[in-house]
């Protein structure tokens, strides 16, 4: 019995971790290229989930349409945020950019609260399959968990191919390495940053739908905690590194679920944050990150 509960915790952890990994990708790409912590990323997740909720609930359209719609809206939203709030501050000190990003996060949360209200909405899962039963029904793997993990793997493969093989992907890597030199080589830096935000936000929409399929309470603050934890995951894996985000996300999800079930439910978040702090002190570049020396 103990082994079965261990396995089921592990699977829940990997499933939650996959969601973190998808969100962390958005953070890590934006951080790699624009060198900023996009605090509002977590709230883009929440907007994505609300859009999907509205499309299925009020328009009565099928789930896959709602996912596409929320991806579209989030992509536009991400690019708009970048254009209005972050682009004018490209050369500003990082403190100013960070405060702007926090302001943006609060803005999105409060707009959502004005539109949809503060009460939690019950999100209907977009996945409708039979859960998988193993060991004579003792171990149940939910359909959401299977879909989440599969989606995460597919996204990871596509994204790796994109950054390695396509011209845009190469441009992204070039900009993240040296903005000035990339510009001299004829790369449109602003466009590249815009595309990065667009991809990150589209991924956030998927993450939002998957997250709310597993944890169905949808509120204006739904995105903020997973957002912060996903950033933790991105730092954990080494910020700027795509495989790092995947590794960090899954590790963090597993740690969180194990911490909650074996140590203390109330302290789950505290455990996750404590790990972030310890890691940053021991290995500030994360598990797969590269060390960059500061030049005077």
């Amino acid at each position: 019995m103990i082994r079965v509960s261990f396995l089921s915790n592990l699977i829940n952890g990997i499933s939650l971790g996959s969601v973190y990994a998808i969100i962390a990708l958005g953070y890590t790409m934006v951080y790699g290229i624009a060198k900023m912590l996009n605090f509002a990323h977590g709230d883009v997740i929440m907007i994505g989930a609300y859009i999907s909720f509205c499309v299925t609930q009020y328009l009565g359209l099928p789930a896959w349409v709602s996912i596409l719609a929320s991806m579209l809206v989030c992509t536009l939203l991400g690019m708009t945020i970048e254009r209005l709030a972050y682009k004018p501050l490209r050369s500003a000190p990082s403190l100013a950019v960070l405060i702007t990003a926090i302001g943006m996060s609060y803005f999105l949360q409060n707009v959502a609260q004005l539109i949809w209200g503060a009460n939690p909405k019950s999100f209907n899962s977009v996945v409708a399959m039979e859960p998988l039963r193993l060991f004579g029904g003792q171990l149940i793997i939910t359909d959401e968990a299977i879909v989440t993990v599969l989606t995460c793997v597919v996204i990871m493969i596509c994204l790796t191919l994109f950054t390695e093989k396509t011209k845009m992907g190469k441009a992204m890597r070039a900009v993240s390495e040296d903005k000035g030199a990339a510009q001299l080589m004829g790369i449109n830096v602003n466009m590249t940053i815009s595309v990065t935000f667009a991809i990150g936000s589209a991924l956030a929409a998927i993450a939002g739908v998957l997250l709310c399929s597993t944890y169905p309470a949808l509120m204006p603050t739904t995105g903020s905690m997973p957002g912060i934890k996903a950033f933790t995951a991105a730092v954990f894996g080494g910020i700027g590194s795509i495989p790092g985000a995947m590794l960090g996300g899954i590790l963090l999800g597993v740690i969180e679920i194990f911490g909650k079930s074996y140590i203390s439910t109330e302290l789950g978040d505290a455990i996750v944050f404590a790990i972030l702090i310890i890691l940053l002190l021991v290995k500030p570049t994360g598990l797969l990150g590269k060390k960059v020396n500061e030049k005077v």
């Binding site: 951080y31 900023m36 912590l37 709030a85 004018p88 501050l89 050369s91 500003a92 000190p93 990082s94 403190l95 100013a96 950019v97 960070l98 405060i99 702007t100 926090i102 302001g103 943006m104 996060s105 609060y106 803005f107 949360q109 409060n110 707009v111 609260q113 004005l114 903020s224 912060i228 950033f231 933790t232 730092v235 203390s264 109330e266 302290l267 978040d269 505290a270 944050f273 404590a274 972030l276 702090i277 940053l280 002190l281 500030p284 500061e294 005077v296």
Partner: protein, 354 residues
């Protein structure tokens, strides 16, 4: 050099005078019964938020590190101060003395937390530092949410995660500290503001303050002339934490219960809005912003739904206005236009006079 010194002196004198005059006016109005209930209820919170804003400004403005966990220190101060006051309720009947001691103990506890948090955190920079202070704020709140303390006779019992403790519960997990005697007074709040101002203003204009600002402006250059980054950054961080703890104790003893939920991330952001709107690095600005933004929402209750939305917009617009070259240019064009308009009018006026 002498002229510059004088300017600092005058600047500080204006800040002190502003606070003292505001206190004298409000206090005499309160004694004369001229204040409405709403305003009266806001007097102590205003003092608390002013101290919070000024102390955060020490970290964000003077030391240049974005701390997102300021409410965590306030939380420590509130809990420790309230528990201290509850324990010594019987043995120390003098309320003013108990309040002062509770605030001191709360401040010391928050200061110690500040050292524990600061030593590892201040090794990090920029965005990492911000996110780790946020994490620490959440950890502090999370841990206090699971804390249970009870008193039986003269002995204190501590418990974690819903234990059964003997005697009367003082700290009850997520329900927080209950049965606090409401001993906070407006003059005490004023005294705390003055103490905060003396500490922060003197620190900024001292050798230590200049070292802190040098580290903010260029860490490598400052370190290369022999300024110890850890020492001075920690000094600013711990002072700021201790002041926040004192404000927290004052805040707690203005209510009969205080819970960890009051010191969420939102609270840290609220204080950050005060600092940003008042002007990062400007102590007087923080005081004015904290006062206005605490009283205004109480007077405009019907717009309370839009309050946080407006704060968010304020954060973004202030940052864009002060940092974006395009926005600055736009502002200067507008300014030129307005000035030009007035100049034209004056010229027309002169022509008419002739």
């Amino acid at each position: 050099m002498k002229k510059k010194l004088n300017r600092t002196f005058i600047n500080n004198a204006i800040t002190y005078a502003m606070v003292i005059i505001a206190f004298v006016v409000l206090y005499s109005m309160q004694q004369a019964g001229m204040l409405s209930r709403t305003i009266k209820g806001q007097l102590i919170p205003v003092c608390v938020w002013i101290v919070m804003a000024v102390s955060l400004n020490l970290t964000v403005g003077i030391s240049g590190e974005l701390s997102l966990g300021h409410a965590g220190f306030m939380c420590v101060g509130a809990f420790v101060g309230a528990v201290f006051s509850g324990v010594f309720k019987a043995t120390m009947p003098n309320e003013t003395l108990r309040l002062i001691l509770s605030m001191l103990v709360g401040g010391i506890a928050a200061g110690i937390t500040g050292v524990i948090v600061g030593v590892p955190v201040l090794r990090l920079r920029g965005d990492y530092l911000a996110i780790v202070t946020l994490a620490f704020g959440e950890i502090i709140r999370n841990v206090l949410n699971c804390l249970y303390i009870s008193m039986d006779g003269g002995a204190l019992f501590f418990g974690f995660s819903n234990p059964s403790l003997p005697g009367k519960l003082i700290v009850n997990g997520p329900q927080g500290v209950q049965g606090i005697s409401r001993i906070s007074t407006f003059p005490m709040g004023f005294a705390l503001i003055i103490v905060t101002l003396i500490v922060v203003l003197n620190m900024t204009n001292s050798r230590a303050g200049r070292a802190i600002m040098a580290l903010r402006d260029n860490r490598i250059a400052a370190e290369s002339v022999g300024i110890s980054a850890t020492k001075y950054k920690l000094m600013a961080f711990v002072t700021s934490a201790a002041l926040a703890g004192m404000a927290g104790a004052l805040y707690a003893m203005n209510y009969s219960t205080v819970t960890g939920a009051k010191f969420k991330f939102d609270t840290s952001i609220l204080v950050l809005v005060f600092v940003v709107l008042g002007g990062i690095g400007s102590i007087r600005g923080s005081i004015i912003a904290a006062t206005v933004l605490t009283i205004l929402p109480e007077l405009l209750r019907e717009f309370s739904d839009y309050r946080m939305l407006i704060y968010a917009v304020v954060l973004i617009v202030v940052m864009l206005a002060t940092n974006s070259p395009a926005f600055k240019q736009f502002l200067s064009v507008v300014k030129d236009k307005i000035v030009g308009l007035f100049a034209k009018k004056n010229r027309e006026g002169d022509a008419a006079n002739e």
